[in-house]
Subunit: 337 residues, 3 copies
């Protein structure tokens, strides 16, 4: 429970309307009640603004001019919404508890106020920083080093030797530090290359549910600070990802690729191994990157959706495209002669 | 063990041949023995019909005219096969058992005849309906509400507050209710938006192995009744999926997408966020949907497979396609003048 | 610790330089110290050869001619590196241990020197071969049969009845033997087809982290010997994969597809159901295979990456491709007349 005025002060923002309005939670414009605060960031939802019942709305100054109700004014309503939602969502801290069913090796070192859920495993020589929370069924491998305030959710697995910074969030079912896919072909079959590196995650990284990040083959797989990975992503061995880069669900990054800082990688995109992508690059959804990208910007590859009947005809022609282009060249020459 | 005649009666179907033939299990046409029943639904397997050793075969009336052996007659042999296979596969009900190693909070409420596997976790205030079966290592979060006759398989995770209907099947390693991927970009990095909604699954939903369904950001992520998801699928926060829609493996649905009823989404397809797909839509495998679909039908995008040598030439031209089209326009104009 | 000379002898190779150089581990050319051995396989890293501090380098004879330092000579440096890395990575065998928190049914049969990690589950009638290692939280289902020297990593799940050969490696979070996706559409909804087959894995198979392999619908899903699957792969029911075939991350193989021996399937590729791919086929990354492949070779489909602005123009034309081709045909006819 906080008043609009208090909220404005805490966020160093101005407001319009009744500053004494009390707000207890966040909601969408459509569903908000009188004690809730909403926001407008996506213009597609502008139609809901006039009829919202929200106690206050986070708006740009320009939008606020067209709105009579209570508003918190910011150039970036979405970021302010994020901060406000965090503030209103704070639950009273639970007392840290080590569940009696957890299997913790005596040589593991737990910091102050660490919580460990039911049936979690902490292997020998692991170090878990202050105030970390390990959910039910989490497995922390031998010699893992984890900073402070990490949140490792249900069933997440961190394999031996991996190194996590502070405030890292690992979502359920994620696997950090499985073997990379390193195989050499001998006459009679594949020979496995021992994967002796680890995974290093910087501060404030987030790893989505069922995402996998492989350990390095010789050197390490390294994510910088504030790298955010959605669910079902695969990061191959020895990949390096720069600070603040973000990847949507189901991205696949092959071994030894290097991705710069502040990149946005769209859902289902693929990045082949041993290439570099420069800082500030955006890759659109389901695009395959096969070469270095040296110039920041937005890149796309996905073929456009079409009615299947039309697609069938076009797909036939796509296979003849080089031929068609050559015929166009010839005709042009003929016409110009 | 059931006779062909009894089977026909139970399914309200007619049969041809010896109704006293006893049948104990199902098999393919190729491998079936005299006490097994098979079916023919895919014309590609018609060649196996004449030589089958099956005790009976489920056939359309038209096909049965060309077959001398015992047959169960139906317009839809595949559906009848499904019902018959279920009937013949019924194992004698095991006595419900709570494994002594399961970690169940005292405030959790378990219905009648609930089974809980070894080392499963049921958190505080969770409600598990009658006859639910929870496999080994299943984790049920705080306050989860689960209907009757659900089957939650090995190592599946249902996070706090999620709501499941009756007869929901969750396959191994699936994660229901992880945080959605909600981040706002501030000057110095990403700010996490608390994900305060849950996941609601209707009756008869099925969630594949290692599939992930994120909880809503503010409101809920909602799947209707009889939604069937294969393995390795990612469903983003606040997605809504209509009744009877089915998705093949590795589909990715981004946040706030709305998918209608009775849709078929092919394997590896991608659906971007904040769009709508109408009832009865089919999306072919590995197609990316980037806009609303307002007309039911089949849609495709995936580029056609080619020998790599040819593909290289065509790929160069694909990048020049707009130029080629403009040159065609110009030539046409010249020719028509 | 081994000398270059001893290493050469053990690998049946020749060397150049000081055979008494002692080597204790492997490293990259860039980072290697005087007691480490490196290799050069990828020409892109040739630039690092002249300045390497490595105690020895594995090189082809041709490369060794241009290198003054110690070298181990082989036609296939990468394979030799794999063998050498395995040799130098051998850790002293830990004593086999059954962790006291593991839940093992009395009827399960464990071979000699089997290790079982904390909170692992072995169900009734499972057979685990000599020297198998089961990590923390592994679940082995009822009646599973596992050969010798398998390595089942943290949290991997092998469902009831599945059959594993010798030396199989299953990485964390993988699910072997979940139900296949078998559903028949009845008037009022989907009817589930019982999945009564199992998964069979040959000797020396490797299954990546969070990869899923479904059990067969009636018959089995079968992987031959030395099949290597990376992470996040989905293998549908009744798929068959030949010996030595290898798949990179995020591949999806739909039900009843048959893939030959010695195939290479690139990351994110998709293979539709009920098709056959012949021995020795290479499928490039993110390509969709929709028809049988009867001729060995390399195949591609992924659309080429372009700046998004250019892509938008080309995507419009891609939808008009058949029309453009028809117009080219007409013009050509006109010009030839």
């Amino acid at each position: 429970m906080i008043t609009l005025k208090e909220l404005a002060t805490s966020q160093q923002l101005t407001f319009q309307g009744n500053g004494d309005t009390t707000l207890s939670s966040v909601a969408t414009l459509e569903k908000a009640q009188a004690d809730q605060i909403s926001f407008l960031a996506n213009p597609a939802y502008r139609k809901y603004l006039n009829n919202t019942q929200a106690g206050a709305v986070i708006l740009t100054a320009e939008m606020a001019d067209h709105y009579d109700g209570n508003a918190l004014i910011s150039e970036n309503p979405y970021v302010v919404f994020a901060h406000v939602a965090q503030k209103l969502n704070q639950s009273p801290a639970k007392a840290a508890e080590i569940h009696p069913t957890a299997a913790i090796e005596p040589s593991a070192q737990l910091g102050q106020d660490v919580s460990v859920g039911p049936l979690a495993v902490i292997a020998a020589d692991a170090k878990v920083g202050d105030r970390c929370q390990l959910g039910a069924h989490v497995c922390i491998g031998e010699g893992v080093v984890m900073g402070q305030d990490c949140d490792i959710k249900t069933g997440a697995i961190i394999e031996a030797g991996c190194i996590l910074g502070d405030r890292v969030i690992v979502h359920p079912g994620a696997v950090i530090g499985a073997d990379g896919f390193g195989l050499a072909r001998d006459h009679d079959g594949w020979v496995k290359i021992p994967q002796t590196g680890v995974v290093e995650l910087g501060n404030d990284c987030e790893v989505g549910a069922n995402t996998t990040i492989d350990r390095g083959a010789i050197e390490n797989t390294v994510l910088g600070d504030d790298v955010r990975l959605d669910n079902q992503i695969q990061i191959g061995h020895n990949v390096r990802v720069g600070d603040h880069t973000i990847m949507a669900g189901c991205v696949a990054v092959a071994g030894s690729a290097v991705i710069g800082e502040n990149c946005l990688i769209g859902g289902g995109a693929g990045i082949v191994g041993h290439i570099s992508i420069c800082d500030g690059t955006t890759i659109q959804a389901m695009s395959l990157v096969t070469h270095d990208i040296k110039k920041a910007g937005s890149y796309s590859a996905a073929a456009p959706l079409q009615p299947t009947k039309l697609w069938r005809k076009n797909a036939v022609r796509a296979r003849q495209l080089d031929q068609i282009a050559r015929r166009v060249n010839r005709m042009e020459k003929k016409l110009n002669d």
